[in-house]
């Protein structure tokens, strides 16, 4: 018997039950597509977190004022962080594992360029060390220099989002903007960091020398944060304890459980978040696997019903002289067509779906999940199509014909 005659029988068999064939295919499609898509979403979210870890720099530490976690907050003893604290931390004899220190003040102000007025996400005043510590790279122009800080020059480096908002396609470098009434010259534009994890946009920022911002906006009393860079990723823990002891000295504190500042290790925070997203991925994977399983049970069920319902037909075909191999071939081809078409469409839907953002996450397709889901769906279809067909084709024609 020619192969394509069998193929014609199979297509005829499928066409004879269009609705059922379509529903079976839909079941496989949903199973496969959901496996691909859900795993891609999970993978995408952990990729986003990984991205933001590397964008922050793994050896940076943030000191902010306020009680540390678990420490009792006592307003009377709270001392704000100051530039003096930062200077103390920069002393290499007291803190050998600290590479650089950048005090940061943050404020908010409206920027005006020509007739465009825009309020960037944040306005920061800091030292040039900030750029390296926060892993901010320049795209156009240059950073401001230590000299600019010493002379409190009115220069600013802006983030890419701010640049597009204010200047659109113009080159911002060298242009003058008014920030809260004070004229600033833009000296550089930062590279796009991206990796916004649903919080504030890290590229919507204006960074100027610390004294300039203090002078124009915040005053000289305190700073919001001190960004500290450890000498390497391995020394962050030592650097953290050095910061604690130095600041306990400058804040004249004795009880390490009652601190008025807090040192946070961004990388470790993000690592914790990464493990959360891993759990998330596993959870999504489990849901997807269940939906594939349900899809598989759907194929199994429909194949069993189809073949059982068609036992009489098998009997008729055998009575007309159909060899067992041809009948098996027909049913095997039918279930192969159903599951391959269903799984193929499922892959297509999954891949198309992964081009859309799902709850703010860009899905990243895992290639092995595509192959795996496809293979599993096809294998289930084949097995559960051939098993009952084999059973029916092995019957004596008269027994198959008598089947109710």
């Amino acid at each position: 018997m020619i192969f394509w005659q069998i193929l014609r029988f199979a297509i005829g068999g499928l066409a004879a039950n269009k609705v059922r064939s379509a529903l079976t295919m839909l079941g496989v499609l949903i199973g496969v597509a959901s496996v691909i898509l859900l795993l891609a979403v999970g993978n995408g979210s952990s990729a986003a977190v990984k991205n933001s870890i590397t964008s922050l720099g793994t050896n940076s530490l943030t000191v902010s004022s306020g009680a540390s976690f678990g420490g009792s907050r006592s307003a009377a003893t709270t001392k704000k962080l100051t530039v003096a604290d930062a200077k103390a931390l920069a002393d290499p004899s007291a803190a050998p594992d600290i590479k650089s220190v950048a005090p940061v003040v943050s404020t908010s102000a409206t920027a005006i360029y020509g007739d465009i007025s825009y309020t960037p996400g944040s306005v920061l005043g800091t030292y040039p060390a900030y750029f390296e510590t926060a892993n901010e790279k320049i795209a156009k122009g240059d950073y401001f220099s230590a000299d600019d800080v010493l002379n409190a020059r009115k220069v600013a480096v802006i983030g890419s989002t701010t640049a597009t908002q204010l200047f659109d396609t113009d080159d911002p470098v060298g242009k003058s903007i008014s920030l809260g009434g004070t004229p600033f010259t833009v000296v550089g534009v930062l590279q796009t960091k991206g990796g916004s994890t649903g919080f504030s946009d890290p590229d919507d920022v204006v960074i100027a020398p610390l004294p300039t911002v203090q002078n124009a906006f915040t005053g000289f009393s305190s700073v919001s944060q001190i960004l500290v860079q450890a000498t390497s990723a391995d020394t962050t823990t030592q650097a953290q304890s050095e910061i604690t002891s130095v600041l306990m000295g400058t804040h004249s504190l004795t009880d390490p459980t009652k601190l008025d500042f807090r040192v946070s290790n961004q990388a470790s925070l993000l690592t914790a978040r990464e493990s959360t997203t891993k759990t998330f991925t596993v959870l999504l994977g489990a849901v997807a696997a269940i939906s594939l399983l349900v899809g598989g049970i759907g194929i199994t069920n429909i194949m069993l019903v189809t073949v059982t319902e068609r036992t009489r037909e098998i009997g008729i075909r055998k009575a007309l002289g159909a060899p067992k191999a041809v009948i098996l071939g027909q049913f095997l081809t039918e279930s192969t067509l159903l599951s391959v078409l269903g799984a193929g469409l499922g892959v297509a839907v999954g891949l198309i779906g992964s081009h859309f953002k799902v709850v703010g996450i860009v899905p990243v397709v895992i290639p092995s999940s595509v192959l795996g889901a496809f293979a599993i769906a096809v294998a289930i279809g084949l097995f559960f199509g051939s098993y009952p067909a084999n059973r029916a084709a092995s019957l004596r024609p008269i027994d198959a014909l008598r089947h109710e």
Partner: protein
Amino acid sequence: MARRGRARHSGTAPTPETETGPATPVPVIQIQRLTKAYGHGDATVHALRGPDDPETGLPAGVSLDIDEGDFVAVMGSSGSGKSTLMNILGCLDVPTAGRYLLDGIDVGHLDEQQLSLVRNRKIGFIFQSFNLVPRTSALAQVELPLAYAGVKAAERRKRALAALSLVGLSERSGHKPNELSGGQQQRVAVARALVTAPAMLLADEPTGNLDSHSTEEVLQIIDGLNATGRTVVLITHEDEVAMHAKRVLRLVDGKVISDVRQGPVAGPPPVLAAQLRQRAAAGELIGGRQ
């Protein structure tokens, strides 16, 4: 028409039908001491048993020869084992004991593959209940046995259309079983059975569901096939149908109780022969007037 024939009981040694013609007919079907039992123990039903063995008292089985070109009608009350016998003859079922030789070959020794070849090439089977493949057009139904025989699509189509026009259904070739009347379905089943030009046509009450007009149509087709030398075995409850046969077997409780010959093995079946004679006579009459 005068009925000639003699009663013959199963179990007697099969003698060639020398009395009916000069040529010695060849048995195409030989069954020897065939029994078929369903169930076990006390609940055993002997659907085919034959006479009891005088020594042991056990069923001795049915023995029967059917000659090539013969037209046999099997009659008997409901449950007498007619369909059981027919299913075994059609290689759709296997006997509990005994031998079945088809063209001298013991069917019991054939494997699945060979059996499907026998069913496809040698036997055309018409079922009591049509047994058409659901949701499949009449043309595709009739093409099925040819497809399993490996006939090419174009040739298949041509032969299937010819078979359908023989049963007067060329207009209905695109219709599915549920779009056909009972008689039309039966005729599709007939077309499907004869499309491969099998040497043997087995029909289990092919007219059981038909009105007298459709019955006549189907019988005419079967008569015509037998006249061209095909062996026909047909089950029926109706004497009018049995009249068409050359030989009538009666079954009671799995035993052959009578075996009557109504016409010679060679030549057209009795009803057709009578029609031909009439037509010839009418022709002579007309010819005489002219």
